[in-house]
Symmetry: C2
Subunit: 144 residues, 2 copies
């Protein structure tokens, strides 16, 4: 991986950044330091960093929204391989005390377990993790 001024700038902007910036936001800041830098380059670099595990993505736009007619207080387990979701019931987490929330007013808590569902780990136990797409159909939807 070559060292280019664009990358140096982005690394600098990200280092220690606790603001959870978006690609557009970084592009804006980066542009003020280096007019002409391409938004495409920002996306490119961010993707590279994520691939290298040096950066995390929050609330991935995993394609489209999913809907759940189950309005009970529950959580989900998402398969990294097929994208399927399974319901998971945990106790009432809103009562569990949490430190470091300071004045943040908690209204709800959502937990998501990331991993591999039974179907996927069975489909190819010998192969490395499949990439999101291996579908396990189910009435125009996903299940895990």
């Amino acid at each position: 991986m070559k060292i280019t001024p664009q990358r140096q700038l982005l690394f600098r902007l990200l280092h220690g950044n606790l603001g959870h910036p978006s690609a557009e936001g970084l592009f804006a800041t980066a542009s003020s330091h280096m007019p002409g830098i391409s938004l495409r380059t920002v996306y490119q670099t961010l993707n590279d960093l994520v691939a290298m595990g040096e950066l995390r993505v929050i609330n991935f736009t995993t394609g489209s929204n999913r809907f759940d007619p189950n309005t009970d207080d529950h959580h989900h387990a998402e398969c990294m391989s097929c994208g399927g979701l399974r319901d998971v019931y945990l106790g009432d987490l809103d009562q569990v005390p949490v430190q470091g929330l300071d004045g943040f007013q908690r209204h709800a808590t959502s937990v998501v377990f990331h991993g591999v569902c039974i179907d996927c780990s069975t489909d190819a136990p010998h192969l490395g993790p499949t990439h999101p797409a291996t579908t396990h159909p189910s009435q125009g939807s996903h299940t895990t």
Copy 2:
């Protein structure tokens, strides 16, 4: 709210549906039962149900992705008002036993606290919850 065949069909498709379907998925299934139904109507109806609290949205496409250079094992608190994110440290949840996961292989766990940050609850304590947009700038990014 009027009763139309389109809505009856969608209600039927959603009732007890544990597959966490996407709008497109429901549209596909709905189309096979009622050729000609509009994708726009599916979105419309889903939005209405969500507004009525009869349906939940999973992993909302909150506009764009956010990046976090902090690769430590941590979680987030998201402000429903300004969209800001704050880091929250919890213990190693991957060790906590969870029931109902059956053969699901847990690789990581992510927790998100939904609520209102200090800034927002201070900005207008007398007003009802603001809608996502009230920004609390911070170097081309968000913080809570």
